[in-house]
């Protein structure tokens, strides 16, 4: 197990390096934009009336301090890392003076909750059905599911989302069409609030699952139909090993690792938010936050969201890399 421990240490170091480089790139790109957040804020304030020039100058200095733009570029850069390590991205410009971290903290649970649940459900359903369809290739029911999956899969996501909205929001108005929960309820873990959250999540989750199942289904079916021709599966069938055992321990077990990699990548990606989903269903998540931030030129917020998603994706990949040697004994940790 010492080999595995060394592997974990090495992999963690790699993780830190990737996150470091990723955040640096995000820093450079956001700072290379022509938008100056300080001037932007000042113009917002001054547009309401006359302000004394010395007051403007004082405001400029304190804003530079706030946005971490004081001093030379090197000092700025070091100050940036100091604040990052405290998870402080400065105040948001578009929602001044709310801190960026507060905005992200508010949006993240919505996005993460919705996307984690729908990604896992879509993955589980798609992999299971795909696995069965790859193994029982003659089954009519599974063939039909395959046809449906291939049919639904290429529908542009926003079309499907809008169709769901129209069907369940207008033609047969049983579900709320916008928001994360009813506005009139306090955000507390009461029964009413939880029910409301669930109701609001049904349509966005359904749209994500319907689109997501197809690709997992097709991926798993292709993997399984390859695995079933392997000698060890043919041999186990010939030896009269029980069918469910062949399906689970021989077929699915060998087809699963690539699917799990895909799942980890998707789960890492949930912190990016689902921009279109959140826009179409008016869901208060990270995706909407990011898009609004980009429109408003709020680069502190853009940097904050980007950093969180860099962390999310890297962690997802890290977790699957650490699990892989345990999933497939042939993967050597050296």
């Amino acid at each position: 197990m010492s080999g595995y421990f060394a592997y974990v240490v090495r992999r963690l170091a790699q993780f830190v390096l990737v996150v470091f480089i990723g955040i640096n790139i995000a820093y450079v790109i956001t700072h290379a934009t022509p938008i100056d957040p300080v001037e932007q804020s000042i113009s917002v304030v001054t547009s309401f009336g006359n302000t004394a020039p010395d007051a403007i100058e004082k405001m400029r200095t304190s804003l530079r301090e706030l946005y971490g733009l004081g001093g030379s570029p090197v000092e700025q850069y070091l100050a940036f890392w100091k604040r990052i390590l405290r998870a402080d991205f400065g105040p948001s410009m578009s929602a001044f003076p709310t801190p960026v971290s507060t905005l992200i903290g508010r949006a993240l649970p919505w996005t993460a909750g919705l996307l984690a649940v729908s990604t896992i459900v879509a993955w589980g359903l798609g992999s299971l059905l795909g696995g069965l369809a790859g193994y029982y290739q003659e089954s009519r029911g599974l063939k039909l599911i395959g046809v449906i999956a291939i049919g639904v899969h290429p529908i542009p996501y926003y079309i499907l989302a809008l169709v769901l909205l129209i069907v369940f929001g207008f033609l047969w108005p049983v579900l709320p069409i916008t928001g994360g929960a009813a506005m009139n309820l306090p955000q507390a873990p009461t029964f009413d609030f939880i029910v409301s959250v669930m109701q609001h999540a049904v349509l966005p989750a359904l749209s994500l699952i319907l689109i997501g199942v197809g690709s997992w289904f097709l991926g798993m079916r292709a993997l399984v139909s390859h695995v079933v021709t392997e000698d060890y599966v043919v041999y186990a069938e010939l030896a009269g090993v029980r069918p469910w055992r062949v399906l689970s321990s021989y077929v699915m077990r060998n087809a699963l690792p690539p699917q799990l990699t895909g799942l980890a990548m998707s789960l890492g990606g949930i912190f990016n938010g689902a921009v279109i989903t959140e826009k179409v269903f008016g869901y208060p998540g990270v995706g909407s936050l990011l898009v609004d931030a980009v429109y408003a030129g709020d680069y502190g917020l853009v940097l904050g969201v980007t950093t969180v998603s860099i962390l999310g994706v890297s962690t997802g990949v890290l977790v699957i890399d650490l699990l892989y040697p345990l999933l497939d004994p042939r993967v050597k940790v050296t």
């Binding site: 060890y232 043919v234 186990a236 030896a239 055992r245 321990s249 077990r253 060998n254 004994p329």
Partner: protein, 344 residues
Amino acid sequence: MTQAETMPGELPDDAQPILSVRDLQAHFRTDRFGVKRDVKAVDGVSFAVRRGEIYGLAGESSSGKTTLVRTIAGAVKPPLDVVGGRVDFAFLPGYGGLRRAPAAEVARIRWRHLSYIMQGSMNVLNPVRRLRSAFVDFAYPHIGESRKQFEQDVVAHLARLKLDPSVLAAYPHELSGGMRQRATIALATICRPDVILADEPTTALDVVVQKEVLAMISGIRREIGSSVVLVSHDLGVHAQVTDRLGIMYAGRLIEEAATVEIFRNPLHPYTRHLISSLPRIGDDVPRKGLEGAPPNLADPPPGCRFHPRCPLAMEICRHKVPATLETAPGHRIACFAVNRSEAA
């Protein structure tokens, strides 16, 4: 010489064969874009295997050896299709083959009575599971005993094949090719089956391991009394372990006799070529290759399939299929040049 056409199973020194194959025909049938292809990989093969004997099947590549054992083992999946004939096991009477028997019956006899060592058996073990679970999956349901007792049996059986009990905790990729081969043989013999079908069990092994594996197969036969059908293209392997030997050419069994008899007195022109091509110590005469190539089984030559390459080919060989006749006790052969009276 008696020249009556004999059916396997009517051999005088054998009351009831454990396995008898009669006129078995298995074809690979494909239909692509309206083009039908029918590859007659096994075309009317009959033979019988007695209790406790090692029956060898020899022949060059694409002679139908593997398809024959696959069909006997019931590993028939499209495009392979059994077109005709019967396969009868003494322990599964009356059905004429695994594919005609009810699924429950087949599940009952598999591994308990009939086991199979597949070609390329280095890759037959599940790469992500330890060897112990292979034994549990394959054999445990057939042996009505406690798990602890079963484990002890497995360890004892492994010891018989000179395998350390520690292999049970290993993954297949952690074992060498020879060890994997031995583990596969252990897996195929743990239930003490009546018939073991072994398809090229020594191919891809170096000669030292090959010798060990062959000794192991003979030993298993001696200890547990199984019959073995051993397929190999290597006549040296047959010379070492088999009791009787069938020579296959282009999907047909062309000669069958006791192994010693085949080596001493081969009768079929093809067999004679095979035997004379073997190197002998002290004999430095260059070996002559056989002209031509084995026929395309999708469109085999009419009559005797060997006639285009046969030095003794006669007119009758080109349009009539020679019957398999017993020319001497236990020596069956399908050739007009040998069975002159049939040609006349």
